[in-house]
């Protein structure tokens, strides 16, 4: 009798997961205060593409990203990047957190923040040398922030702050990027700049996974979409014959809560929490 908890050694051994995928999530469940927020997520990201994670509020979009990056504990499941563990592939991963996650009154300039993307390359105790500063400045220029490099970050508008975060991720020089709502609450100019940068990343062979909240712009900006509501509703290309961005799928994603699963989740939480 096969023990229910036994899993294969590597995801790549499983036929449905490919070893070359930048991100393979297998059977991931995440619980917050013992209540499942993500249930049994199974996903392979295609390489060299712009991927949108879409779903209603509380669907676990940010949770998915954070759990992949080990920022939240997983109740179960495994994640691999390029067929390797997170630890081994950390240098290939860039991250743009939600803008609200930090204190913008912090006494640093835009350039300082962008340079933080280079810290992993600089290593312990090293100073931020001119070479690294130049690299950071170049990243700021790519998001159109070169002129404001020396501004303190609280003196930037919301869109400009978001661009600084993007510049920091660019400075990481990664192959796979996770971005948590980079387009939330930004002005039109910033949105255009960010999309330009995303496209140039794709043409440079990188993969970008973006938590996105604005449905109408999905077909315009992204190649792939992951429809999420606690579980994966559908994942695949946005357009073409294989498109999963259909009104039927959207209805299933946004159409109300999964009452039965919710009831069960509640019962689980009650039993464990007391």
């Amino acid at each position: 009798m096969l023990h229910p908890l036994s899993t294969p050694k590597s995801l790549a051994d499983r036929p449905e997961h490919s070893p070359s995928s930048p991100l393979s999530v297998h059977d991931m469940t995440v619980a917050y205060q013992r209540r499942p927020v993500l249930w049994d997520v199974d996903y392979d990201a295609p390489s060299q593409s712009l991927i949108a994670i879409v779903g209603p509020n509380g669907a676990g979009k940010s949770t998915l990203i954070k759990a992949c990056l080990d920022l939240l504990p997983r109740a179960s499941g495994r994640v691999e990047f390029f067929g390797k563990s997170y630890r081994e592939s950390r240098h290939m991963i860039g991250y743009v957190p939600q803008r609200e996650s930090v204190d913008w009154d912090f006494p640093v300039s835009a350039l300082d923040v962008a340079a933080m993307g280079r810290y992993a390359k600089i290593g312990w105790f090293g100073r931020v040398s001119r070479r690294h500063k130049d690299a950071a400045r170049e990243c700021l220029a790519r998001v159109g922030m070169a002129d404001l490099a020396h501004r303190q970050i609280s003196q930037l508008s919301g869109g400009q702050q978001q661009r600084v975060f993007l510049a920091r991720a660019l400075a990481q020089d990664a192959t796979l990027y996770f971005m948590d709502e980079p387009l939330a609450g930004v002005d039109a100019a910033t949105e255009a700049t960010i999309i330009d940068v995303l496209r140039s990343l794709r043409s440079a062979g990188k993969t970008v996974i973006v938590v996105h909240h604005d449905l109408p712009t999905v077909p315009q900006y992204f190649d792939h979409v992951l429809l999420l509501n606690t579980r994966v509703i559908a994942a695949g290309p946005v357009s073409g014959p294989e498109s999963v961005f259909t009104s039927e799928n959207l209805r299933r994603t946004y159409g109300g809560r999964l009452t039965l699963l919710d009831q069960a989740a509640e019962a689980v939480a009650r039993a464990r929490g007391g």
Partner: protein, 464 residues
């Protein structure tokens, strides 16, 4: 060395009653501070009392209890206002703003205390930190006709009551005021502590309630600091409330419990400080009573964190263990059912059952539980289901396979992924949920793995 009744009444009783009253007042206010995550407001107020005392003495020139009380109260409220101002107008982070204000005020107090004019008074920074519980005693003053109680019934004598120490009277008044104010605005305070925005929307003016709370906290701390010292007041404010919070989720019960814990810590602390060393044979040693009260409050809290029947560490562990035993037992039944279903042997060996359930204490308890409940029996070959066990197992397997079918057919999960989820879900499914499931799941008789879904009652038995 055990005190006589006379000594106890004259020396210890006043101190104990005063400390109890102070602790009670602090604990009641503390509940709201803890709920509003403003525990450190108490810290800030307690540190800031010192310059108020010194200033009151310098202005009035005597150590009367009313000016002292007013001075300290003003200083306490002022510290809260100043740190709020620093936070709002100078954008200093809340914790740091408090730290700046209370340390500066405390330093100012220490400076004022060491002025030559203050030397004459028996009030120094040290007794503000530690309190002077030892000086709260009944005094006999022939000119005012007061005397010291000698027997219990003396406590009803007006002459004796008039000689009660002033700290006791202050504590009595403050405790009464605190209780009355909290009773009067209980509803508003609760609402504002729970949801300050909603309270504002309902027109309760959160800042006003905040001010009331600050003044109450200041009054309670000022009344207490003389007895237990300004640092230990913080223990009185926070510990009983936190202890009570570990024991209940209802605010009313929490407040009542916090009062009980406050009085308990005073009694335990005072008695241990006075008589603890005696029990160990050190007859001349008396420990700091106020320090011991704080330690007792901390010990009660530690006890509650570990042993509280509702939210304690131990209770949570036991609940988890019980749940995992119940789950393992249900897994065992389902396993036995599947073995029966597959039709080979009629029993599962104990060894295999233990292996499959993961071994350890949980498994042992689960197997024993199943036998005790008459759901499984030991046979020469191992374990087998009894009739009642078979019924329970059938219901479980049915739920499991219904869930699997639901997850695959309705939610589109892959068949090879659903077993684990179903394993989890089956243990938490109520019969109502199972009925809903059965009505949603298409009336197929096989689960995604091709095995039959058992009916909700055994075949062959006529429905009742």
């Amino acid at each position: 060395m055990i005190p006589t009744l006379r000594e106890f009444l004259a020396i210890d009783l006043a101190a104990i009653i005063t400390a109890c009253l102070c602790a009670l007042a602090c604990a009641i206010v503390g509940n709201f501070l803890v709920l509003r995550r403003q525990s450190l407001l108490g810290d800030s107020i307690a540190h800031s009392v010192l310059p108020g005392l010194a200033a009151a003495f310098l202005i009035v020139g005597s150590r009367g209890s009313v000016p002292m009380f007013v001075g300290a109260l003003i200083a306490g409220v002022l510290s809260a206002i100043l740190s709020e101002g620093l936070r709002r107008f100078a954008r200093v982070e809340a914790g740091a703003a408090m730290g700046v204000i209370f340390s500066a005020m405390f330093a100012l107090g220490v400076l004022l205390m060491s002025l030559p004019r203050m030397r004459s008074v028996d009030l120094d920074a040290d007794c503000v930190l530690n309190g002077v519980l030892e000086t709260v005693i009944w005094t006999a003053d022939a000119s005012r006709g007061t005397r010291v109680p000698a027997v219990w019934s003396d406590l009803l004598d007006p002459g004796v009551l008039a000689g009660a120490p002033s700290q006791l009277l202050t504590a009595l008044v403050v405790c009464g005021v605190v209780i009355m104010v909290v009773l009067a605005v209980f509803k508003e305070l609760t609402l504002a502590s729970f949801d300050s925005a909603l309270a504002g929307a309902l027109g309760f003016r959160p800042w006003l309630l905040h001010t009331v709370l600050v003044v109450l906290a200041a009054a309670a701390s000022v009344a207490s600091f003389e007895v237990v010292g300004s640092i230990l007041v913080i223990a009185m404010l926070i510990c009983p409330a936190a202890t009570a919070r570990m024991c209940t989720s209802r605010l009313r019960t929490q407040i009542a419990l916090s009062g009980v814990f406050a009085i308990l810590s005073v009694l335990i602390g005072y008695l241990l400080a006075g008589f603890g060393p005696m029990l160990l044979g050190y007859h001349s040693l008396a420990l700091s009573a106020s320090g011991m009260i704080a330690v007792a409050a901390g010990a009660l809290l530690t006890g509650a964190i570990i042993f509280s029947p509702s939210h304690g560490l131990l209770a949570r562990r036991i609940r988890t263990l019980r749940l995992s035993v119940a789950i393992a037992r249900e897994d065992l039944l389902a396993m036995l059912y599947r073995v029966e279903e597959s039709g080979d042997a009629r029993s599962l060996t104990l060894h295999h059952a233990r292996l499959a359930l993961g071994g350890g204490l949980t498994t042992k308890l689960a197997i024993r539980g199943a036998i005790r409940r008459d759901q499984a029996t030991t046979t020469p070959g191992g374990l087998a289901l009894t009739d009642s066990g078979r019924a329970a197992a059938r219901a479980l397997v049915r739920t499991h396979r219904l869930w699997e079918t639901y997850l695959v057919k309705e939610l589109g999960l892959r068949p090879d992924h659903v077993h684990r989820s179903a394993m989890e879900l089956e243990h938490h499914t109520t019969s109502a949920m199972a009925d809903t499931l059965a009505s949603i799941v298409p009336s197929t008789t096989a689960d995604p793995h091709g095995r039959p879904i058992p009916g909700d009652r055994p075949r062959g038995n006529p429905p009742e």
